[in-house]
Amino acid sequence: MMEEMREAARALYHPLVRKWKEAGKTVIGYPCTFVPEEIIHAAGMLPYRMRGIGTTSLSIGDTYFGPVICSLPKCMLQLAGEHAYGFLDGVIITNGCDSMRRLNECWRKAGEDIPGILPGYFHYFGVPHKAASYSYEWYEEEIRELIKSLEEHFGVKVTEKALRKSIRLYNESRRLLQKLDDLRSGTEARMTGEDALTVILAGSAMPREEYTALLKTLLKDLKKALPIDKGRKRLMLVGSSNDDPEFVRLIEDSGALVVADSLCFGSRSYEDLTNEEGDPVASLSRRYLNQCRCPRMFGCYQDRLSLILDKAEKARVDGVILQNIRFCDLHGSENGIFERDLEARGIPCMRMEREYGPLVETGRIRMRIDAFLERIA
């Protein structure tokens, strides 16, 4: 079962997506956790969180994006330009951050030059940066427009019943992931951070029903597993998107265990649940906009600090790695204040800036992690 998860986390077009496509079903890509997956699911489609894995060049990404842009959307564009995302029937772009929202223009313009890389359905989903009565309403309206455009483009119907069912299903899998977190960060950790990330990544790219079933089995197995944290420093990983289990392995190979995280390809995607009562669209709006876990929600630093402190305490971490992808100022700068405030509370921190993509900086990263582990020994 872990092998199925690994397959789904390792490749873009993995066997489960292939099976889905062979059944004639639709796959919709999206780049950021602020896009409500439940809507896509309720339309009978596979919500697929796009990644930038496996790029070996940025020749296309660099043609459209400028030089000082986060390499995650650049890698996504590169893959799109190489037809690696040809299996996507549609894409929803959002204004998660500035680099990511410009994927909209850059992909469209690349589509003018490279035939066949722009999916027929290409939708922009505008997410406010604050939680206020009128921004909830805005987000609701965005959801309604998204539903309408999916229905019109694909000739499907998103019924209230289907939406409620999707909300319940996503809540269920998020609860299971929270349980997985308990097993990972409890007094006796039973799973590596590398495997935990693999499991989370798999969920962002496989049919939810199958994923939920796999999660249940995995949890049963894990409860019986032996603790693996003996003699290892317990770390928490915080900051920019990380969808690379090998990066976590690199940390763990130095003798640590990543027992908790606050990453958007990590626990941030399942910590909040959607209210199952009331108007489903309004509930989704509350769920997605209330999450202040990403620094794109400006002015909520104290909330994020509290969340990290709670988690660090619960997971009894020995230190925190605050990482950011180069040119990700949102996480990079906030990491600077986290460092000040966590260190002041006696939690050792290490800040690290890195590139997204193939791990070309292994030596430098390993050296820094070794030094950090020595510091907290």
């Binding site: 505008g126 921004s135 805005w138 002015g299 949102l330």
Partner: protein, 476 residues
């Protein structure tokens, strides 16, 4: 940060220099020329402003007043709001709150201080910023984070939804200094009832925030006075925009800097109206004589700067243009979208109108004005969407008959760097020579001014701009 840098408060330092500079135009020409010899570090910057006569001197006097207001605010029982240039300050004036606007403060430090703002830029990184964050905030913010300036009482920023790195700087400052924060947040498009309703509600949230912070309610009479002032200012700006269309353009390039720095710092105040009137008097005089606004009075080329200007030491950017008889036709920072601006005519739904019927109408006018501020309007959505960057640039270049477009930005500007290549390509396809400069407008260390000049000269010469031969533009 060097010890001697820590000796002076940044805002006091800038104020004292500007206060003194503002008096240099009061004496005789001979006194002024003698003075220039005695101030080798300030001479070029000072002269770049003062040589335009009354408008230059008036700008300095008004800047000194603004800075003094910041320095003395707390003594006078007033609150200081740390805010951004994208935010129109009239609502702050209506609450008698003193704006402390970071980006103009960075501009001032960049061209006035002998060593620029490098140490403050770096100080931000020492306390946590990424070195890739926008330099336009960091340049001055470093001083405030180091406690080398007036401590602001709260923060207002209106860049979320427009520019992450800008909003992030203010969010960082709020967390670091532990002071309240209000954000105006913008949808990805500008027009239509949905966007307008959002603007209005968000702006009312701001008013509640200001009431809470100041303990006062909005003063209707004061607001009415300010609204009348904005109306007058909008008319004057429109006249400048109109005159800029004449060939040769009678508007001195540096007047664009006067225009936007004035509006960012003192929009809605009588002082800004005086400045605009003084600038107009000068421009009308040039126009009557058929002279360009360059020093020689000649115009060899017309350039539109599609984003911001370049501010490093000594205001060399403007001098460079003037020495080559290139008219600076403005930049995104000098387009405000008042309803009767020449560029507004084709986009009636993209403009702001000044209404003063009742309180609601006045508040809505201010909300609309803020939502049309430079950058806030044109880079919130896809660059090629209606009313956005490309559309605006095409309108401006056509109306102003620009021979070329040049992009200066900051290395921190994710938003524009994310799209500037396709944008420049689209401009070229529309027949407009477009140059992207890989420099930082506030930080010479990214690319030296000499390298910038080389690039510009190479571009102008390769594209045969300003050579005397009329370029073939679609509108010629």
């Amino acid at each position: 940060m060097k010890r001697e840098t820590r000796e002076y408060h940044y805002d006091w330092n800038i104020w004292s220099i500007i206060e003194n500079a503002s008096r240099t135009g009061d004496g005789t020409r001979k006194e002024y020329d003698t003075l220039l010899k005695l101030i080798p570090h300030f001479r070029d910057s000072l002269d770049a402003v003062i040589r335009w006569g009354e408008p230059g001197t008036l700008l300095l006097k008004l800047l000194a007043q603004c800075l003094n207001a910041v320095l003395t605010a707390h003594e006078q029982g007033k609150k200081v709001a740390l805010t951004t240039f994208c935010f129109a300050p009239p609502i702050l004036h209506a609450f008698d709150v003193v704006p402390l606007v970071l980006e103009p403060m960075t501009v001032l430090g960049t061209f006035i201080l002998q060593r620029g703002t490098g140490e403050y830029l770096d100080y931000c990184c020492e306390v946590g910023f990424t070195e890739t964050s926008c330099s336009s905030q960091r340049g001055a913010l470093g001083a405030y984070l180091a406690g080398l300036g007036v401590r602001p009482d709260f923060i207002i920023c209106d860049s979320p939804g427009i520019c992450d790195t800008n909003a992030n700087s203010y969010a960082f400052a709020s967390a670091y200094l532990d002071i309240p924060f209000y954000q105006l947040n913008y949808p990805p498009f500008l027009t239509g009832e949905r966007a307008s309703a959002y603007h209005r509600q968000d702006f009312r949230g701001l008013i509640s925030f200001l009431e809470e912070q100041t303990g006062h309610t909005l003063d209707m009479d004061r607001l009415r006075q300010i609204t009348a002032e904005i109306r007058r200012q909008s008319e004057l700006i429109t006249e400048i925009n109109e005159l800029q269309r004449i060939v040769p353009s009678p508007v001195p390039g540096i007047f664009n800097l006067f225009l936007y720095s004035g509006n960012f710092l003192m929009g809605g105040t009588p002082g800004f109206t005086d400045l605009l009137e003084s600038m107009l008097k000068y421009i009308r005089g040039r126009a009557a004589q058929g002279l360009a606004g360059t020093r020689s009075g000649k115009e060899r080329a017309r350039g539109f700067f599609s984003y911001i200007d370049h501010y490093t030491t000594d205001l060399r950017f403007w001098t460079f243009l003037e020495n080559r008889d290139i008219s600076h036709l403005g930049c995104i920072l000098s387009t405000f979208w008042q309803e009767d601006a020449p560029y507004s005519m084709e986009h009636p739904d993209a403009v702001y109108r000044v209404e003063d019927g009742d309180l609601d109408a006045m508040i809505d006018s201010l909300a609309m004005q803020v939502s049309r501020m430079p950058m806030i309007k044109s880079i919130r959505g896809p660059y090629d969407a209606p009313h956005m960057w490309l559309d605006d640039t095409l309108t401006m270049t056509r109306l102003l008959r620009a021979d070329f477009v040049a992009y200066f930005g900051t290395i921190g500007c994710r938003n524009t760097w994310g799209m500037v290549k396709p944008y420049a390509r689209d401009l070229e396809r529309a027949g407009i020579p477009a140059l992207i400069l890989y420099a930082d407008a506030f930080d010479d260390r990214v690319q030296s001014w000499d390298a910038v000049i080389d690039k510009m000269q190479e571009f102008l010469s390769l594209r045969k701009i300003g050579t005397g031969r009329p370029a073939r533009r679609p509108w010629r």
